[in-house]
Structures are given as C-alpha cells and as structure tokens.
Amino acid sequence: MNEAATPLQRLFRVLVTVGPGALWLFLFVLLPTLLVLLASFMSRGPYGELQGPLTLKNYLRLLEPPYLEAFAQSLWVGSLATLLSALLGYPLAFYIARHPRRDLLLFLLLLPFLTNFLIRVYAWLVLLQKEGLVNAFLQAFGLGPLSLYPSFLAVLLATVYTFLPFFVLPVYASVERIDWQLLEAAYDLGARPFRAFLHAVLPQTYPGLFAGSVLVFIPAMGTFVVADLLGAGRVVLIGNLIQQQFGVSRDWAFGAALSVFLMGFVLLSLYLYARLQGERGLEDLV
C-alpha cells in the first residue's frame, strides 16, 4: 500500500499496532486455554492443589451418571430456551421491522437487556417466589400458591428472558433484507398465505434464524448463574458443575475437564453453524 516504507518501517508499524493486542491475547486467552487443557489431565492433590502425573481419569469420570445427567439437562435447557425464544422472538422481529417507529421498538427491546444481568435473573426470583406477583395472580383465580421457585420452569423462563434479544436482533436483520416481491409473486401464482410464507418468506430469514439459535443456545447451556439462583440446587447444568469444582469441591482438574468438554461442545455447535451458513456466517454472528 505504501511503497515508500522500508521493511524495517513496516515491521515497526506492525509491532506498534498489532503487538500489544496480540501479546495480550497470547497471555490471557491462548495461554489460559492451554493451561485448562493441561489441568484437565492432572489430578487433585490432598489439599485440593493440582498435581501430576498426567491421567485420563477426569475424562472417564465425565461418563458417570450424575455428570451425563447434567449434560443432558444443559442440552434440554438450551434447546427449550432456543425454541421459546423463537416462538416469542420470530414474530416480534417481523412486527418491529415493519413498524414505522422501529427505532423506538428496538430501543425498548434493548433497554431491559442493558440493565445488569444479575438483576434480570433476580427479578424472576422476586416474581416467582411464594409471595410473588405470579402466585398472587394465581391465587386471585383460586389457584396455588404453587411452588414456582426454585424450579426448572423458573430457570427456563429467566434464561429466555435473559437471552431473547440475541434471538430477535439477527432475525430482525434478516427481515429487513427480505425481498417482499417474492411474496407478491407467490400470491400472484395463487399461493395461500401460509404456503406463501413458508416458501417465499421463511427461507429468506434462515440466516437470522440460525444465528439467533446459536446465540441463544450457547450461552443458555453454558451459563451457571441462572440455574444457581433460580434452580437452587434442583437444576444442575455443566456450568454449575464447573463452578462447584472451582468452589466448594476444589477439584480443579475435574473442573478443567468439564470446561474442555463444554468448550468442545460449543466449538462443535459453531462448526455445524459454519457448515450451514458458510464462513461469512461466523463473522455475522458478532
């Protein structure tokens, strides 16, 4: 680009711009990731410290029933949260995109999302507690009080609540790009509304739909705070297991193995997503 620069000058420019950031990423992203990998092959010492020799037993332990169950529950929460987000978010994206004041509606969508994550989760604890609003409402109809907290339902609701904008925004971006002439063409060819939607509109929103699903599924199955606060021990996800190993159980080696497993699963989801969407899709995610 600039022919005047000598190789030395070019090296200097790269070092000044890329150098600090690259060094940071090596020190605080690459190195810790490698340490997690290393720790996952070590074992727990008598005082909870990491010690050698290297072993595979942490990974074998992942196959024991309680851990498989936590994995299944994570998948279940992730899938249900994604499905519910789609039911709530997909039509909403259309409503927003075709509304004259969509700026304002997007702003209103993001506003609760930008209040602290913990507060958003806590709000559900307040709503669903025994003396909470939901139970007061149910009792007005002669129902309950139901014990809604702690429960799987509470975890699911708060998860959807927390990650819903992640679903709506990419779908909204797809809806904005829809070529509505295709729909008119479908109508002209005699298609009924449902068929017209299915063939002329839905496929155009696939990129947003896939991106939204990945963006909800990954954090939903990776989080531990929601299950910790609203499941209170009844809902145990992989994230909760990891937190336990680095907290009360103090078995860092096993916690590291669980983390490698979770990370592997995330990468697998992203790989499948990239296969579906092409390389460009990954950049669109961010």
Binding site: R13, F28, N116
Partner: protein, 259 residues
C-alpha cells in the same frame, strides 16, 4: 394477522418489562416481603446510602470499568488497525484467537483466568487475586469486542483518504492522528461504549478473578440474593436500572441526531 402480530408484540414487551417494573415498585414498598403494597417509603434507599460498604463496592465497580475500558479501547483500536492495514505472519491465527473470548462460555473464561493466575503465582509469586486481576480479566474479553467493532468500521473507510494524506507529505503518526483516527472515531466510541457496558454487566469473570477487598456491585448483589429476597437489593437494582436507562437514552438521542 396484523392485529395478532401486534397483540403478540404487546405480550412480549410485557414479558420484558414486568419483572423490572416489579422490582422498581417493590423498592418503594414499606413491606419487607410479598407484593402487597403497604405504603410508600424511601427507607431502603436510606439504608443503602448509609451503608459504607455499598459506596466501596460502587467505587470498585467504577474503577474496574473505567481502567479496563481505557486499556482495552487503546489495545483494540491499534489491533484492529494493524489487522486491516498490514499483512504479517500469523494473522489468520490471530483472527481466530480474537473470536475465542466472544464464543467461550463465561464460566470457562473465568476459570481459565483463575488457572492462569494460580499457575503464575506458583511460579512467579504474583498476582494475588485482587482488583488488578479483575481488571486484567475484563480487558481480556473487552479487547476482542473492541477490535471487532473498530475493525468493521475501518473496513468501511476509503483507503484513498490515507494515501492522499501521505501524498501530501504526512508522516505515519500524522496520518494516524489527523486522518485515520477521526474517521474511525464512531467505531472507536462504539467499541468503548460496548466495553464499558460489558464490564459493568460482568458477574462471572469477576466472580472467579476477584479476591478479598475486590467486591464489585454485581458480586454484592449475588451474595445478597443467595440469602434471599432483599428490599435493599431492590433499591440498588432500581438505581442501576435508572442509570443504564439514562445512558442508553442518551446514546439513542445522540445517534439519532447524527443520522
């Protein structure tokens, strides 16, 4: 069909706002528990302001957010610039590395940094878990986001503008400060704002990297909430909600004016 869609949207917005409104309402409620409004009070706010610990946690949160945002914005902007402008060995790998903090579940990020600090303490004797380790952790996820935001802005710029500056005799630093940076400024500002928001919102990475004396507001809320519902947390939450609403509205107003 249209009305059905409107009704659906109304329900979703209700779902989004009901929990927050309940917290705000309860923060002014006389009664300690339950949803029955027994009278208006400001006593929970008073209790909050009289608690010196809350002020300390607030200052900790602010320190972490400002320092980490400053560092990550500088690092991220430079990195984005280098990635867009130059070719160098390992560039592809670096770009992959950039996505790791974005896609990695925050628990894994938290424990990986905890392991790093533990290994480093074993071998080098530092750092102890403190406000510093929290800041290091925050910068780590912020850098990735800032870089990606600034890079997408830089990619939109016309390289001819920089060439013109050089043809007119500007040196590297002059070009950077008088041409590139002003043009990239919206991206840099957006990146910094995102970094600030992420830092203020973060609980998980802080949870794993904080030591004694490094309690932030999210950590305080978490430990209070673990003990059950507390009106003081309602009051604190309401203040935080109010502040974020104010800043978001400000940002919204500013971006609208520009367009």
């Amino acid at each position: 069909m249209r009305r059905l869609l409107s009704f659906h949207a109304l329900l979703v917005y209700l779902f989004l706002y009901l929990p927050i409104l309940v917290i705000v309402a309860l923060s002014f409620n006389e009664s300690r528990r339950g949803v029955h409004f027994t009278g208006f009070t400001l006593k929970w706010y008073q209790g909050l302001f009289q608690d010196p610990r809350v002020l300390e946690y607030f200052l900790n949160t602010l320190t972490v957010a400002l320092v980490s945002t400053l560092v990550s914005t500088v690092l991220g902007t430079l990195l984005a610039l280098g990635l867009v402008r130059y070719r160098f060995p390992g560039k592809g790998f670096l770009r992959y590395l950039l996505y790791v903090p974005v896609v990695m579940p925050d628990v894994v990020m938290g424990i990986s940094l905890l392991l790093l600090f533990a290994f480093s303490r074993e071998l080098l004797g530092f750092p102890r878990l403190s406000l510093l380790t929290v800041i290091l952790g925050h910068i780590t996820f912020q850098v990735a986001f800032v870089t990606l935001v600034v890079r997408s802005r830089l990619l939109l710029l016309d390289p001819a503008l920089e060439e013109a500056a050089r043809d007119l005799g500007a040196r590297g630093f002059q070009t950077f400060f008088h041409v590139t940076l002003p043009l990239a400024w919206p991206g840099v500002a957006a990146g910094a704002l995102l970094a600030l928001t992420l830092s203020l919102d973060d609980f998980v990475v802080t949870f794993f990297t904080a030591g004694p004396g490094a309690t932030t507001l999210p950590l305080y809320i978490y430990s209070s909430v673990k003990l059950g519902v507390s009106p003081k947390v309602h009051a604190l939450s309401t203040l935080i909600i109010g502040l974020s609403a104010f800043f978001l509205a400000l940002g919204y107003a500013l971006t609208r004016r520009k367009v």
